[in-house]
């Protein structure tokens, strides 16, 4: 994938080396540095990059947060959580060297003086560590703080670059809560940073299997002729988890499954499956094609939404043999909550390739299994010869998580004198074929942002188009009159019956996971 235009000429000593070039040294400033994301994901990811020799020498991590802490206290906290959450065991020698690059800066997000002080600190780091003005800002704080942070970064001149250096900003989801707020956020970002400097992170895109979708589609000639309405009957995307809302009720009560998962992760996966081949592998070529898919999503009228979108909420039930609470009984959840923990959609992509191919999506909490996958269901072979009585279709399954891999269901004759045909599965497992574990999504994405490669990050128009698709559904659900009902499902089931009906009325069924 291509690198940004501000990237240097190739290094002759890099030729033939398996590892990717190490990005330029930089300071990484994490806003919300005492939060969960920093402890569970970001710092473990940075540590793993350091342990694999992929983090540039001279990188300095500056944690920016409100709590009072010294550098040493911050390092100790991070060491504890990194030991717990790191992909690979923490080695003392590496951690000790890595920890020396971690600093803490206490400030309110809205306090201008705090940004002036951090600027001075970054200037010193530039001199002492050779980071030469390269800065990566990571907004890991709550979305309500984004605007204040962006404004103050600009006021402190931290969005500016001098010749040869760069400043980039990574924004964590949610990218707004609807189209209006997304536009507002994009406007706030644009006021401080250009689109080229902005990296909207969707960790699903950093997963190895998500990246492999493009390789599978465009590096294998066998799929290309079949990848269209002539041969594909339907596409199904499932993101199921056994977990309930846990400690995220505060956020989830306002967001719900549609905003939390569909607007970003599931639509991004759909884009990778449905996009046209890009002209090249540059970030914008790929994102140009992805945004066309979102633009082509059929917009339902309010009355059609009830027939094509199902929302559900889990009740008490059993997961792995253990009784679990219903959503409304969870901590910090309104006992009359109307928030959906399950969504199923039947949607269409109104373009030449995908006309009349339904895409069924479902996402839910407290389902029987945790699994994210895309399945491509091919049309039946002509109903002559062997195919008269066959019910099963050929299915290509791309497993995003867990047990990443690809399987293909085909038909085979059962050995014997009679002519019985049964489906069999050809299965490729990443874990079986490649012994080396994949890097965590955040490792890949942080490295990409440092390298200036925005391919796996969402562009503002993608985000806005996705909200333009989601908003009418949310509006219909929250309409005072004739709002589609919220269905309930017992925890541990595959969601409400209405979700099954979306497919059964089309003569189809959800793939059994």
């Amino acid at each position: 994938m291509n690198r940004a235009s501000d990237q240097p000429e190739p290094n002759p000593l890099r030729e033939g080396l398996a590892a990717r070039p190490v990005p330029q040294p930089c300071s990484i400033v994490i806003f919300g540095a005492t939060g969960d994301l920093t402890h569970r994901k970001l710092v473990p990811a940075l540590y793993n990059l350091a342990a694999d020799g992929e983090l540039p020498p001279g990188v300095v991590i500056v944690g920016f947060a409100r709590r009072d802490k010294s550098d040493d206290e911050f390092r100790r906290d991070l060491e504890e959580t990194t030991r717990k959450f790191s992909r690979q065991p923490v080695r003392d020698e590496i951690w000790n060297a890595f920890a020396q690059t971690i600093l803490y800066h206490r400030s309110e997000f809205g306090d201008e003086a705090g940004y002036k002080q951090v600027t001075e600190r970054l200037d010193e780091i530039d001199k002492s560590h050779g980071t030469r003005g390269n800065r990566l800002f990571y907004l890991a704080a709550g979305p309500d703080q984004f605007e204040a942070i962006l404004k103050n970064l600009k006021a402190a001149g931290l969005n500016q670059t001098c010749k040869g250096s760069w400043a980039r900003i990574i924004i964590e989801k949610p990218f707004g809560t609807d189209l209006t707020s997304a536009r507002e956020l994009n406007r706030a970002v644009r006021n401080s940073f250009t689109e080229e400097q902005t990296y909207r992170i969707d960790h699903f895109l950093g997963k190895e299997t998500a990246q492999n979708i493009l390789v599978m589609r465009f590096a294998n000639a066998i799929f290309s002729p079949l990848w269209n309405t002539h041969y594909i009957d339907n596409v199904q995307i499932t993101a199921a988890e056994t977990l309930g809302v846990g400690t995220r009720a505060g956020y989830y009560e306002d967001a719900g499954a549609l905003r939390d998962m569909v607007q970003n992760h599931l639509i991004q996966l759909l884009c990778l499956v449905a996009m046209e081949p890009p002209t090249d592998l540059s970030a914008d070529s790929i994102r140009d094609e992805k945004v066309k898919v979102v633009r082509s999503l059929h917009r339902w009228s309010r009355s059609e939404i009830a027939a094509n979108v199902v929302r559900g909420q889990y009740m008490e039930g059993n997961i792995h043999g253990e009784p679990v609470l219903g959503y409304r009984q969870e901590q910090n959840v309104n006992p009359n909550s109307q928030t959906e923990t399950f969504v199923a959609l039947r949607l269409f992509i109104d373009n030449w390739r995908w006309a009349d191919v339904p895409v069924y999506m479902r996402v839910g909490k407290r389902l029987p299994k945790s699994a994210t996958e895309i399945s491509i269901h091919f049309k039946k072979a002509p109903a002559v010869l062997f195919n008269k009585d066959l019910r099963d279709l050929n299915v290509l399954v791309i497993r995003i998580q867990p047990d990443e891999g690809i399987s293909l269901r085909i038909h085979a004759k059962v050995p014997g004198t009679s002519f019985r045909i049964e489906p069999v599965k050809m299965d490729f497992h990443y874990g079986t074929s490649f012994g080396k574990p994949s890097p965590e999504a955040y490792e890949r994405l942080l490295l990409d942002a440092m390298s200036g490669d925005a391919t796996l990050f969402a562009r503002s128009d993608e985000v806005e188009e996705a909200w333009a698709f989601i908003d009418p559904i949310e509006e219909a659900w929250h309409a005072k009159k004739d709002a589609p009902e919220l269905c309930f499902y017992p925890a541990g089931s595959w969601g409400p019956e209405a979700a099954d009906n979306l497919l059964t009325r089309d003569g189809r069924a959800w793939r059994r996971l």
Partner: protein, 356 residues
Amino acid sequence: MPATAKTYSLGTPVEIGKIEHELKRLWQEGEGAMSRASLMNFAVYSEEPGSLQNNTQLMAQITENHACRAIVIEADCNADDDLVSAWISAHCHVSSVGSKQVCSEQISFLLKGGCTTQLPNIILANLDSDLPLYLWWQEEFREQIDPQLWTWVDRVIFDSHGWSDFRSQIRLLELIQEEANQHIVLCDLNWTRLDNVRFALAQFFDHPASHHRLAKISKARIDFAPGFRSTAILFAGWLAAQLNWHIEEVKSPCELRFTGASPRHIDVDLRERNGEAVHEIALTSADVEFRITYADCGDLLEISRTQKSETRHPQLMPAGKNDPVGLISEELIRGGPHRVYLNALNCVRDLLCGGP
């Protein structure tokens, strides 16, 4: 399943004509409990007595990360009678996702007598179809091998470090390349030994502010362990090939002088010291020294860039493992052509061949 009970045993003896049949049975017996995996055919050839057991032990470790069909061959070419014995076994490991046993199969052969005539058929008859063939040749190359074998080999792995006559071995490799219509990839473990050091050095110059330093390199020091002079020379050859230097003078076996494009001189000192194969590199470019050295713990490299005006911030990077399993794993994971190796080799070919 008896064949998997002892990972390092050669497994079940089988008749040569029934290998596939017996392998099938092996998998049927273990069905459900394990998955067979294979990304390549990996043949290993050695004439060292006892190598069958040693290589089986290596395979048990290599297959942890590289699922393959292993074909391990020990040959006793001086035996009076022709005889071929075979065994089958499986190396099973818990997969990285942690839930199931992933197994690679191994076919072991003991060849006696006319080794060179038997070898191609033994390998070709036992390949897992549609998968590439990697051949780890642990002996010196000879002329008498049936050229057909080389047309099937995708990558030939060897270690030039142990060659007694570099010139003749390279000539034979070139012949092999010709017989394979140049499609065979030459994988020299002596070159693989340099991977992590090359990576550590290269990353200094990813930084655009360091690019110009490449054109100002005036001195290089390469510290190598006794017996690894050829490895150090290959490293010098790599620098020369990638930076467009040409050998100007061999002042002594340890002092080389290259000419750069400017034109300018680059002095390369080779120092023999105890330690890893190549255990310290120092490049001087104007007032900056770039240094890579093995850290005390042995499996990390300490890298640093020293200039008067900047604080020294040594950083640690993985050093990789220089044992056979580490080198082979590095080689198998890499793939792709070895153009850079050939360029490096050509730059210092005369030095490696013992002249001028």
